[in-house]
Amino acid sequence: MDPLDLVGAEPGPARTILFDGRPVPALPGQTLAAALWADGVLAWRTTRTGGRPRGAFCGIGQCFDCLATVNGRPNQRLCLLPAEHGDAVTTQEGHGHGDLAV
């Protein structure tokens, strides 16, 4: 049994997103976080101070642990963003705005 079997899901063909450059399949209607979980990926950022890995925690947009850089824009909550074909997710380091430092 898996979740798709349980609800008799018949999704359309998977899309492809890129996680740190690696293709990962995403079912239509899944969030980026769901697609990564389905691929066994649980972490997609490192913390600002300790450099520790983090991924989705609350699953509903409240904890902001699931932040990552998506298509160049940092601090996106992957548990909320629908996966679109070609989306590029990159592991975010810290605040994700390193390019702005002066």
């Binding site: 601090n75 810290g94 605040h95 705005h97 390193g98 702005l100 430092a101 002066v102």
Partner: protein
């Protein structure tokens, strides 16, 4: 049964001003207690920014006090190190129109004469100081003495270092007076503390504490909002604001004034501050104020348009009608010392206030002229 303990001085208020009073009084050898109805920094100190400014002050008694404080903060920073997030980073005031630049230069010239370090910055050099500044600004003035601390940490560490006994979470409900009217102690919700001297460092609520001694001190609240961005790398090096801010600070108007004051913090977020309104203790969030602050900040630093605001907070500055704090022995009540009403500069002015109060407490005459800050000056007007 009320417990009774005696001290040389009781400080009412555990904000930054009360903490500084306790710190310097204890250093002068006094046995001190600090009483607050809330926790440390639970008043305006926990709702302010930590700018230690000389740049926004015109020549006069407040600037003199600020210059003294600037030196004292430097000494304190040496004692407390990173724990209070002291940053001697300087301030940059920019003009937003050519006419404004002339006015700014005129203002700075007066400050220079009063002992402030001020350096004119040409339009072309602004970006060297602040790479993310907007295009087309006509110029500015750099104030190397401006600095910053984290106010709550500053108050907490000053208080701890003072070694004063802390009575937190209990309000002062009465002041005890002796036969001649002199102060003999304070009554809190839980106990009585005997002391020949009481320092009123109750900030925005200083008027009510003065009233406990039967004297008038017309402290009023002046509301301010601050926006806090998401954590960022250092994108603003100094404290940067538009020259209009100085006019806002000095304004006696009750209406909303705001001008963007933008600064980075060691912790990451950029703070965008300092709207000023006199609306009593109305806590209502004003989207209009937030809008203005954001718009002005984005006009100074367009890069901020790419970040998120995480939080907003508000506080009520303790405000006296002539924009000067009340500092020193209150001639109307023997043993009562006033140390409140610092409006938007209490963090900056706290050490000088504490030091001067301590001098008076031990019976020394401060080397600084406190007469412009006389607590009884508002009675004299009438």
């Amino acid at each position: 049964m009320l417990k009774r303990t005696s001290y040389d001085a009781v400080v009412v208020g555990a904000g930054v001003v009360g903490a500084a009073c306790a710190y310097y009084a204890a250093k002068a050898g006094l046995r001190v207690a600090v009483v607050d109805r809330g926790p440390v920094a639970g008043g305006t100190t926990g709702a302010g920014e930590g700018n230690l400014l000389v740049s926004d002050k015109e020549p006069g008694p407040e600037l003199d006090l600020a210059l003294l404080s600037t030196t004292l903060w430097r000494d304190l920073a040496a004692e407390f190190g990173d724990r209070v997030e002291y940053e001697p980073k300087g301030g940059l005031v920019v003009a937003t129109a050519p006419a404004g630049l002339d006015a700014l230069h005129g203002f700075a010239a007066g400050q220079l004469a009063a002992g402030v370090d001020a350096v004119a910055v040409a339009a072309d050099d602004l970006r060297e100081l602040e790479p993310h500044l907007a295009d087309g600004l006509p110029g500015g003035v750099l104030y190397p003495q401006d600095a910053q601390v984290q106010p709550a940490l500053a108050a907490a560490h000053l208080l701890r270092a003072s070694g004063a006994d802390r009575y937190l979470g209990e309000a002062v409900t009465a002041l005890r007076r002796g036969p001649g009217g002199a102060i003999t102690g304070v009554v809190t919700e839980r106990r009585e503390l005997a002391a020949p001297a009481v320092v009123n460092a109750a900030g925005t609520w200083g008027g009510a504490v003065a009233e406990l001694a039967g004297v008038r001190l017309p402290v009023l609240p002046r509301r301010g909002f601050v926006l806090v961005t998401e954590p960022l790398p250092r994108i603003v090096r100094r404290k940067v604001y538009a020259a209009d801010y100085v006019a806002d600070v000095a304004s006696g108007s009750a209406d909303l004034q705001s001008s963007a004051v933008v600064e980075g913090t060691p912790a990451g977020p950029v703070l965008i501050g300092a709207s000023r309104e006199r609306v009593g203790f109305d806590r209502t969030l004003s989207p209009e104020v937030l809008h203005r602050l954001a718009a002005q900040a984005a006009a100074l630093f367009p890069v901020l348009r790419t970040v998120a605001v995480q939080r907003a907070y508000r506080g009520f500055r303790p405000y006296l009608p002539d924009h000067l704090p009340a500092i020193g022995r209150d001639a109307r009540v023997p043993g009562l010392y006033q140390a409140c009403g610092h409006e938007g500069a209490g963090i900056g002015l706290a050490p000088a206030t504490g030091l001067l109060i301590a001098r008076q407490l031990v019976g020394e005459k401060p080397e600084f002229d406190l007469s412009p800050f006389r607590p009884e000056r508002f009675d004299e007007e009438e």
